[in-house]
Symmetry: C2
Subunit: 144 residues, 2 copies
Amino acid sequence: MQQRTSLITLGARDVPALALFYDALGWARTPSPEGVVAYDLIGQTLGLYPLDKLAEDIGVPVAELGHGASTLGHNVRQKPEVAEILTRAQEAGARLLKPAQDVFWGGHHGYFADPEGHIWEIAYNPFSPLRADGAFRWLGYEAE
Amino acid sequence: MQQRTSLITLGARDVPALALFYDALGWARTPSPEGVVAYDLIGQTLGLYPLDKLAEDIGVPVAELGHGASTLGHNVRQKPEVAEILTRAQEAGARLLKPAQDVFWGGHHGYFADPEGHIWEIAYNPFSPLRADGAFRWLGYEAE
């Protein structure tokens, strides 16, 4: 099993409403069948899919989908972008969980929950510079 | 906010034990501070982090981390790889949620839950060929 994800699927009670949130962040949808909303990320896709259908597809109760705790991280190039994105997310309907602040390890971050509770961390990490195309890896890319 | 994730963080009650599961899938760890385990994916990193510390870091109760339903997808190039990976995951301690099977839209897939309940879909999608490096996008890459 290669080290990669292809799809991150967010189960949603109201897919169209949740999609408006991601649209409002400035994201562009990729054509997809009715009932599914897809956003191509770098080398993978984030999909919004009805919660009940997702549970049915997997063969588990809806409640079980919430058992795997996880967050989605989005790193930025400049410290002030953290607060900017948190503000934009709030304007788009997110719930601020943690305002932008310095972190003990030398970074700067904050958290929001999207309208259906998926948790995003927005972070500035001076020790892990992003690649030109925005790609991230743990130990960073060389400055370009 | 660019369309990308940088980190996928899986909250874990027992980080070392959960890491052994991902190791057993054949994944290689990237050097990281004690208490954190990191796997570089393509253009992003999957991190394992203690559930209580993750909740504390975000400022929410542990129970709230489970509220955002999501799954992680891993697409393969050949149909038989779906069953192979599901088997390997079970051998490594995963719970099989859905055995490999054809899907109505013409693909083939199955699901497993890792030892802490994070749900993975392993899928073969003949309409969305992967890039040579394994990268995925919704409408696929040209055959190479």
